[in-house]
């Protein structure tokens, strides 16, 4: 058994830590499964992009962050928002478009925001979050009282965008504390990486910007956690960026309108053998850290939380139409408050 494998022995992380990660991943999974149902019932509309299959990424990275750190995510960000501490109620109400939602119903699934936890969305322009993350980190560098890291999640599709290359260059050139987390789920909507990139080794691109990088099994929550911990320590210590590529896979369609003509069912089934929740709970059981009854209890609690959130969203209110024009600009009274 190699040293790397030893480090991934759940016993080295402790039972409580491992159970918390199971809980994290199940909260995302149950929340999103319910969202898919609610979409079918037309309670949720617009685009809905599910993270199912990729939960180990958010569950591995986010517990490493400090409260003051910044998070920038994509339109597939329900899991990141949940694990960053946004209440499931506020997220579900946002999915419904209710004014109790975390973005008052103005954003929807793709635009979850939370100022209190430095959660900067929720960006539906592929690659759009990267320059934003660079700027947040630049603000932290300029204000020398701050010791903060900005974590920027994006899919592998974003590496084809100019925004990716410009942002990687700026972050490396200016030595900004950004952790770039590339969630490589192999498909940019329906276009496989090999059909869109001349160089499919993404870490080579990071190396091209003189940026340290690492590749990680994104289906293994402890592997993600350990790699992210190490990466974040390095970003903090050296005050310079790092690129982390996580190999993962989305089990569901790109969005609710996707017939999945671009990939084989067999491929999806193969990846499901690596389901981050099933494989991790199996490993925990094998290590004697988890009983069936405990998984069931965690799962039940997650499902209960989802039902509470659904009830909260159902009971939520529609913002009066006479409020339509609010929050286009900042009202004078709110101006001048600290960000």
């Amino acid at each position: 058994m190699s040293a790397a494998t030893d480090a991934l022995d759940p016993r080295t992380h402790g039972r409580d830590f491992c159970l918390a990660r199971v809980r994290d991943m199940l909260r995302i999974r149950r929340f999103e499964e319910r969202c898919a149902q609610l979409y079918g019932e037309t309670k949720i509309r617009g685009f809905l992009h599910l993270y199912i299959g990729e939960e180990a990424v958010a569950a591995g990275v986010l517990p490493n962050l400090r409260p003051e750190d910044n998070v920038v995510a994509t339109y597939r960000e329900h899991g990141h928002a949940l694990l960053r501490g946004l209440s499931m109620n506020a997220i579900m109400a946002e999915m419904y478009g209710k004014q109790e939602g975390c973005s008052r119903g103005r954003g929807g699934s793709m635009h979850l925001f939370d100022r209190a936890s430095h959660f900067y969305g929720g960006n539906a322009i592929v690659g759009g979050g990267l320059p934003l993350a660079v700027g947040l980190a630049l603000a932290d560098q300029l204000d020398q009282r701050r010791d903060r890291v900005t974590v920027c999640f994006f899919g592998e599709g974003a590496v084809a965008e100019g925004a990716f290359h410009e942002s990687m260059n700026l972050a490396a050139l200016w030595k900004l504390p950004v952790l770039f987390v590339c969630e490589n789920n192999l498909y940019a909507m329906g276009t496989a990486l090999s059909r869109s990139e001349a160089q499919i080794a993404l870490t080579v691109k990071a190396a091209g910007y003189n940026m340290p990088c690492a590749q990680v099994n994104g289906m293994h929550v402890l592997a993600v956690h350990d790699a992210a911990r190490q990466a974040l320590d390095q970003v903090r210590d050296r005050q310079s960026p790092l690129f982390l590529e996580l190999h993962t896979y989305r089990f569901r369609a790109h969005s609710m309108y996707d017939a999945e003509l671009y990939r084989d069912k067999a491929e999806v089934e193969r990846w499901k053998q690596h389901d981050p929740i099933a494989t991790f709970t199996a490993a925990l059981k094998a290590a004697g850290l988890l009983q069936d009854a405990e998984v069931q209890a965690i799962d039940r609690a997650a499902q209960d939380e989802v039902e509470v959130a659904v009830a909260f969203a159902e009971a939520g209110t529609w913002e009066p139409v006479d409020q339509l024009l609010r929050d286009v600009t900042t009202p004078a009274a709110a101006a001048g408050s600290a960000p």
Binding site: R106, F113, L132, G135, L138, N169, L170
Partner: protein, 324 residues
């Protein structure tokens, strides 16, 4: 009262902003060592250092987007883009992010970002350095759009733009940088109102930016022929100050709009539409406009001149509307 240029007035305003607020910094292509492509930031690097007068790579999308992020992070960035043509490479962070974030986040995040850029033609720089696309930005809710046309506005607009909690885009017509005027002692200004640059009774000439000097010259020429026109400098292209425009129309009952943008979908078109909505019964004649010809701005001097609004054309259009 001090004699100064538009460029010097801008530079003084930038220096003052850097001195007044440690959150303010400037970034853009060649703003530092080169001194700014139009020399607005000349000398500021030596005084304030590389962190606050920051040269960027040729990455408009990247550094404007970083400006949005830095504004979110509590800074007060001034981002300079060389010309409006290059700003198209940064439309995404401005239109999709800076202008939308407050709304998309349900009012949680404001973006106190200032973006400045040169605009306009007149220096034989051809079709990729000469366009006037102010209307593209003025179309977008969530941003304020300014066009300083005088030395006083060049001096006075930056501070209130930085104090604005939301994104502000400032257009500096490239032909104005060398404009020399007396800077009045009371150069402080707001960024909400249009200005009456010349009072008159027979017709309202409505314009902004680089067309203001031409329009003032046209008004002088008309005055020498006994025709008394008012000149309104819009100053603020979004949100438009219809009160000042309507007050002028109630007095003059006739209007000509001068806009260096192309007619189709232009700011001139917007002002005309609003005149119909707000002032229809005050009008004694159809509103007319003088815009650039519908052609990419050509290189050859005589062709460039022919493409742009010029004093004789403004004079002729005014006379046609007055039927004199």
């Amino acid at each position: 009262m001090t004699r100064t240029t538009y460029r010097e007035a801008l530079r003084t305003a930038h220096r003052e902003a850097l001195l007044a607020d440690p959150r303010v910094f400037i970034m853009g292509e060649d703003v530092g060592r080169y001194g700014g492509s139009y020399a607005v930031t000349m000398g500021l690097l030596a005084e304030f250092g590389e962190a606050r007068v920051r040269d960027t790579p040729l990455s408009e999308l990247g550094f404007v987007g970083a400006g949005v992020g830095a504004a979110l992070g509590g800074m007060r960035p001034i981002v300079e883009i060389m010309t409006v043509n290059f700003s198209l490479l940064a439309l995404d962070p401005i239109v999709n992010t800076a202008a939308t974030l407050r709304h998309m986040s349900g009012g949680q995040f404001s973006v106190p970002l200032v973006v400045r850029m040169a605009t306009g033609a007149g220096r034989q720089l051809a079709a990729q350095h000469s366009h006037s696309l102010e209307n593209w930005y003025a179309h977008v809710p969530g941003i304020r759009v300014l066009a300083p046309a005088t030395v006083a506005d060049a001096r006075g607009m930056l501070a209130p733009a930085l104090a604005d909690p939301d994104p502000v885009v400032i257009f500096e017509h490239a032909l104005l940088y060398n404009l020399e005027e007396d800077l009045p002692d009371d150069w402080q200004c707001d960024i909400s109102h249009a200005a009456v640059r010349r009072a008159g009774t027979q017709l309202s000439l409505i314009t902004y930016g680089g067309s203001v000097p031409k329009t003032m010259q046209a008004a002088e020429a008309l005055a020498s022929e006994g025709i008394d026109v008012e000149v309104i400098d819009l100053r603020v292209l979004r949100p438009l100050d219809m009160d000042t425009i309507a007050a002028s129309l109630r007095k003059t009952h006739r209007a000509v709009i001068v806009d260096e943008g192309w007619k189709s979908g232009s700011l001139a078109a917007e002002v005309m539409a609003r005149l119909m909505e707000h002032c229809f019964y005050d009008l004694d004649a159809p509103v007319a406009r003088v815009c650039s010809e519908e052609v990419p701005i050509p290189y050859a001097r005589h062709m460039e001149e022919a493409a742009l609004p010029q004093v004789p054309k403004i004079v002729a259009t005014v006379k046609a509307v007055l039927n004199v």
